[in-house]
């Protein structure tokens, strides 16, 4: 068998090859359709948010508490404040542990203990937020005798923990080995190396991870339903129920009143703006030489 002499020119295509060419184009075009279909909801959501919500955004909306049921006016001021408070509380409780655990995992690297902890952390990342909510209810709310901002903070902190642990670990690992070894070679103790050299180097990456996680929990509703519970007035203290923006959105959305629906849209706009601002801040304001872009 010798190599065939292709006497035919490069064109024309056989039927089979023409079909292959068309088929290739069709399928590839379909992937473009898929892409368009996935982006479509984003556009629709923003469109509706703006259309239905912009009208209700006014100074009163930001600063006042909800009006009595069925009445027009009022706002979500207490929800905004509550969200900030809860996120701050969660951060205060969860971040030190998370960053510590992240550093532990980064330093320990392998070994069955660290691998096990890493695995459990990943699993915890997948726990449904409502399960965390009922757990904190059983643990804190029952013990305290009522719903509270504190319980809400605990719930959000539990959600924060696995997220920040993993991102911290990744960021600390990215710090070049040479930096750590250089310090150790100079006679630094281990903890001084970590706290004085490695962590500062990983600082922006860690901060990015923290901001993204905080943005995530700021939008969470389910863990707050049975812990912070919500409050139609300004918060009275950490031991009392507290309003939060996502919870208010939920309550308004399922209420029968048109006025509250409108406010739900406006509050959603607000929430998204908040979440997006935090995400964008994480990505663009914090520049790190070690993050791959």
């Amino acid at each position: 068998m010798t190599a065939p002499q292709h006497a035919a020119p490069l064109d024309p295509l056989s039927f089979r090859d023409r079909r292959r060419r068309i088929s290739s184009r069709v399928w590839l075009a379909l992937t473009g359709v898929a892409a368009a279909l996935t982006v479509l909801p984003l556009l629709l959501i923003f469109f509706h948010l703006l259309r239905a919500g912009l009208g209700s955004l006014n100074p009163e909306f930001f600063t006042s508490v909800p009006a009595p049921v069925g009445q027009p006016g009022g706002g979500v001021g207490n929800g905004v404040l509550g969200t900030f408070l809860l996120v701050g509380l969660a951060g205060a409780m969860g971040l030190p542990v998370a960053i510590g655990a992240g550093v532990y995992l980064a330093e320990a690297e392998g070994g069955p203990m660290a691998n096990g902890i890493r695995f459990i952390t990943d699993v915890m990342n997948g726990i449904p937020s409502i399960v965390i909510g009922i757990f904190v209810w059983a643990w804190v709310v029952v013990a305290m005798g009522g719903f509270s901002a504190f319980a809400g903070g605990v719930a959000l902190a539990i959600m924060l923990l696995p997220m920040v642990t993993r991102t911290t670990e990744e960021m600390v690992r990215l710090v070049p080995r040479e930096m750590k070894e250089g310090a150790l070679a100079l006679g630094f103790t281990r903890w001084r190396t970590t706290l004085g050299v490695v962590l500062p180097a990983a600082r922006s990456g860690i901060l990015t991870g923290v901001l993204i996680a905080l943005a995530r929990i700021a939008g969470e509703t389910a863990p707050l339903l049975f812990t912070a519970f919500g409050n139609p007035f300004w918060s009275a203290g950490l031991g009392e129920p507290i309003a939060a923006l996502p919870v208010q959105i939920f309550q308004y959305a399922i209420s029968p009143f048109e006025e509250q629906h409108k406010q739900a849209w406006a509050a959603s706009l607000l929430l998204i703006a908040l979440v997006l601002a935090m995400n964008l801040a994480a990505r663009f304001l914090i520049r790190s030489p070690y993050r791959s872009r």
Partner: protein, 331 residues
């Protein structure tokens, strides 16, 4: 072997105690380093301890219901708080049905999107679309729910459910009317929208990691772009993509707010895609705050435990698969 006396600076040999096995080796010298290592270890242990605590606490709270109904709880179809009859099947069914439907819709879309972004789109198009996908992932669940209630569900009902139910609802039970709008289908659709960003993000990474040499080999043999993608690139990436899909499934299973708002909240095994139902997460969201008696509460806790267990299994499988791919990627 005799245990070596504790001396700072002496390398420990022989039998090592459990605590020293926990700590990195460097910690066995210096006192400051040792306390540092212990502190770190404590932070690290906080997570599994918390995890165990969650399991125990929820488990204990569920006990009365487990004791009362036993395994029949999982198969029971009646959920009647007033009568004290609790069976979890309607919610298990609702969870599985809506999640499966979500996967059915999301997987082709996600893979199509991933292929589009890695193989086809020029940079000026790929960047905004990728950014848009990240935005979708950042939208809080409750906002999805809000939009779904007022925009998606009415549209689904009038544009899809009513026509289909009228046309073939009598013959095909799956599409039987009446078309409620708030339904398993609505739940599936909104879940699909929510998990597409996750599945496509991981798929995209996996596809991009397929070596250029493989693509070149296929093209040089005269394959069309699609043949190369479908017959060479995708098969290479399959384990990672499956991991991505299962991760998406895990996400869908645990989703609460959006699905609570659109699934109709009827504690029955739905007979049609257009009928309302409930999921494990949605019944918790709806009934927990008003659970009257202890049995009701325990039953709800059991559902929480069940949901917890299922998501653990699914997520573990997903992590394992993605981990397997990262090993292989070293080629």
């Amino acid at each position: 072997m005799q245990p070596v006396p504790e001396q700072a600076g002496v390398l420990a040999t022989g039998t090592r105690s459990f605590a020293s096995r926990l700590l990195p080796r460097y910690a066995q010298g210096n006192v400051a380093d040792r306390s540092y290592a212990l502190a770190l270890g404590a932070f690290g242990l906080a997570i599994p301890v918390l995890f165990a605590f969650i399991v125990v606490r929820v488990g204990v709270a569920s006990w009365p219901a487990i004791q009362r109904f036993g395994l029949g709880f999982v198969g029971g179809t009646t959920w009647d708080p007033v009568a004290g009859q609790f069976g979890a099947l309607p919610f298990i069914f609702g969870t599985l049905a809506s999640s499966l439907l979500a996967l059915l819709i999301a997987v082709p879309l996600s893979i199509g999107l991933a292929i589009f972004l890695t193989e086809l789109a020029p940079r000026w198009l790929a960047a905004p679309i990728a950014f848009g996908t990240e935005l979708l992932a950042a939208i809080p669940s409750v906002v999805y729910g809000l939009w779904a209630i007022f925009v998606l569900v009415p549209w689904l009902r009038s544009s899809i459910q009513e026509p289909v139910a009228n046309a073939i609802g009598d013959k095909v039970g799956l599409f039987a009317g009446p078309a409620y709008g708030s339904s398993i289908m609505a739940g599936g659709v909104i879940l699909a929208i929510m998990i597409v960003p996750f599945i496509s993000a991981v798929s995209r990474e996996v596809l991009a990691a397929v070596p250029v040499a493989q693509r070149e080999a296929a093209l040089a043999l005269g394959a069309t772009r699609w043949e190369m993608t479908w017959q060479v690139v995708l098969p290479y990436a399959v384990p990672g993509i499956i991991g991505a899909i299962i991760l998406g499934l895990g996400r869908a299973l645990g989703e609460t707010m959006a699905i609570t708002m659109v699934i109709g909240n009827r504690a029955e095994v739905a007979t049609s895609l257009f009928a309302p139902g409930a999921t494990m997460a949605s019944v918790l969201a709806n009934e927990f705050a008003e659970a009257s008696d202890d049995l009701h509460l325990a039953a709800l806790m059991s559902i929480g435990l069940l949901l917890f267990g299922i998501t653990i299994v699914v997520n573990s499988v997903a992590r394992f698969l993605v981990w397997r791919v990262s090993l292989r990627g070293g080629k």
